[in-house]
Symmetry: C2
Subunit: 427 residues, 2 copies
């Protein structure tokens, strides 16, 4: 079965042979004109029905197929919608069907196409295959990155899907860290999908349509919108500022440094299991910042805590953001000194977090902070030792609290139209 | 006292005579280069300390001073952060001081400058005047629109600030509408600030810094982020899609149609009170959409409910979005027919709403919908009769629920540096 056929079958309809007639007639003209204007004169692909093959990629689409999943080493987009799912079915084949349909839909949406026959294709008497709010929008560099949590392999002592023996040793349950105040409703999950795009409507649309495809078999456990990226995988760009007003995560793994990616991010052949080769592990932490308290702190104290100056982001005693810090010149409990690889036997993570503001907390304070996302080859050598040290010592802890937590194994990329998210795991 | 002086005094420091040295040295160079690139080659103003006079406006800044507040008739930006505040002080002079400082800070931030001496200006031993997360970002068409709620004039029978007699007759408490399921924690407020910008970090930064300035005198009651605009005040543009995948609000008041604005949006001299001449009234409604149910509805039913086709947005029997609907061809309970001015004695509102998604609701459903914002000359002739009819009859009601509500009087624009938000009200 091809990817398009899988998508077409979602609603029990035959797959379209080509671009949806209704999409083309209703939207092709007006939509294209709008898209060209929005892109500043550059022709850009717009969300329509039709072929999602790589050859059809145009405009600001990020390729979906490849050795690694997009959304890790690829350039960080502006917006995030991250969703964790509980698997509610007990039927292995039903779960596999969802994953196949998800993969087909993801290939289409990242290419800038609608799901299946689209929001206005197909038969009027049936629910549309696509919810439609992204009709006419550009691909917006959408990436969809899929992961599986510990609960997929074993929950309450039960081997739910015959996968217990396939659980990677590196997919450990995270330990409790000092200061954690985790909300179970914002933690964990059997599956995750990270949607990143430059247009939030495109990221939200993607998660919503995956949730819809999975209805009755999987359910969203929690989701998080991020409005401002706080990291960069393109080291020539400025590091964006977090909600504390600082550039944090300057020393990030570059998305083009294949040696560093192989060393710190991608799971190698010898690491095992085989189905994870070329994959990675992601840790998600919802970190609430007590910004009202932070904002009453003096500039000097803020800079001491980070170990960087606020304006340029330069380490103490240096002049430019990317100057190598002299760790001994920093206070022992400063964030940069504690988190630096030289303080942690070289432990290195690829950060891909986003700022969030989710209204108020009932006490007149903004519920704001950092949705921390870190990719790594093995959490036991990276996030866990790093966070163990930070949770005990970081001067920042007075101003932050970890309120959500999850860890997922992120399989390698989907190779081609016959491959799907988790195929090697379930093989 | 000038606006700049007011901002400078916020933290008890003298106002700067000119651009902050630290801002210029630390950021001027790198920031400008970044900004020019981000603007696609157009030079753009970046957030720095310094002069916020209109002459200093460059790049994508929207003028703050004028006969009307910006953020109503001006072109709709991509993102929203709307905040409602409770006034917690009982001291009229303290409240006035906040409003003066807010106005000064708003003038600076909308021009692309930091508050006061900025995040890195001033004395290292004091908290910075600005929280800093927007340092280096463009003005991003930021507008800040200020309003006052019924509770400012009278609360629990008390005339809190000697303003009871100044309450506009048009600032009525909204009646309860059929189907309302209002959450008090997401409703009401003594003051509001609508922050719209193309960059959400700029909108969030603005609300946060106003909350900080008001600390101890005002407190955020609720706030709402919106990620996708659902309306347009520039009628040549496509109407954006809401979370139901439809173009809604096609027949909006154009921001350049001064006759329509005078008739439907701006408070006239004869309307009274005098302090509201040139102002408007805004109704905010948080409308939850049951999108999972909607997504299971057939395309035909969806189109019948709206009275438009989904792809183009054309009224039933017509071919283009902006074709005049033949109301009699629409089902009696269709949204377009019920909401059309011809069905409502000409009642017309200027819509400026945004889509929202605030994670999940604990039942695996996305907490998503429309944050409806409507400006009008008198809510008694516009929103109230419109919503009374819609709440009783609209076929859409099966798929939506109003869960938050507020109404505010929005004074006219700030005229010059000696004027401030509410000056005429408190005069």
């Amino acid at each position: 079965m091809t990817a398009d056929a899988a998508a077409g079958e979602t609603a029990g309809k035959p797959a379209p042979a080509g671009p949806s007639r209704r999409s083309l007639i209703g939207w092709g003209g007006a939509g294209l004109a709008l898209g060209a204007a929005a892109a500043g004169g550059t022709a850009a692909a717009l969300r329509t029905g039709g072929d999602a093959s790589p050859a059809a990629l145009t405009g600001d689409a990020v390729p979906f197929h490849g050795a690694h999943q997009a959304g890790i080493a690829t350039a960080v987009q502006d917006r995030l919608h991250f969703a964790a799912f509980d698997v509610t079915t007990t039927d292995r084949d039903a779960l596999i069907k969802v994953l196949r349909e998800w993969t087909a839909a993801a290939a289409r949406m990242t290419a800038g196409h609608e799901v299946g026959e689209g929001a206005t294709g197909g038969l009027d008497e049936l629910p549309p295959d696509d919810t439609g709010e992204a009709l006419g929008l550009k691909p917006s560099r959408l990436t969809l990155t899929f992961g599986v949590g510990p609960g997929l392999f074993e929950k309450d002592g039960k081997d739910r899907f015959g996968l217990r023996d396939r659980r990677p040793k590196a997919l450990v349950d995270l330990p409790a860290f000092p200061g954690d105040n985790l909300d179970a409703a914002r933690s964990g999950g059997d599956l995750c999908v990270q949607a990143c795009a430059d247009d939030p409507q495109v990221a939200v649309h993607a998660i919503r349509n995956l949730a819809r495809i999975g209805m009755g078999k999987v359910a969203i456990r929690w989701s998080q919108l991020g409005f401002g990226k706080t990291s960069s995988t393109t080291p020539d760009a400025q590091t964006p500022r977090n909600m504390m007003g600082f550039k944090d995560g300057t020393r990030n793994v570059s998305g083009t440094d294949t040696a560093a990616l192989d060393k710190h991010v991608w799971v190698g052949e010898k690491d095992g299991p085989a189905w994870m080769t070329g994959g990675s592990y992601v840790v998600a932490r919802r970190i609430r910042m007590h910004i009202e308290t932070w904002d009453r702190t003096s500039l000097k104290e803020q800079e001491d805590i980070f170990g960087r100056d606020k304006a340029e982001g330069a380490p103490v005693g240096k002049t430019r953001e990317r100057d190598e810090p002299n760790l001994k010149a920093l206070l022992p409990d400063s964030h940069v000194r504690l988190a630096h690889p030289d303080s942690n036997n070289g432990a290195t993570i690829l950060r891909r977090g986003y700022s969030f503001t989710d209204g108020t907390d009932g006490l007149g304070r903004l519920d704001a902070g950092l949705f921390f996302l870190a990719y790594q080859r093995d959490v036991r050598d990276a996030f866990i030792p790093l966070q163990s040290k930070l949770a005990r010592n970081d001067a920042l802890n007075e101003y932050i609290q970890h309120v959500g937590s999850a860890v997922f194994a992120v399989p390698p990329g989907v190779r081609d139209k016959d491959d799907w998210w988790g195929k090697a795991l379930f093989a």
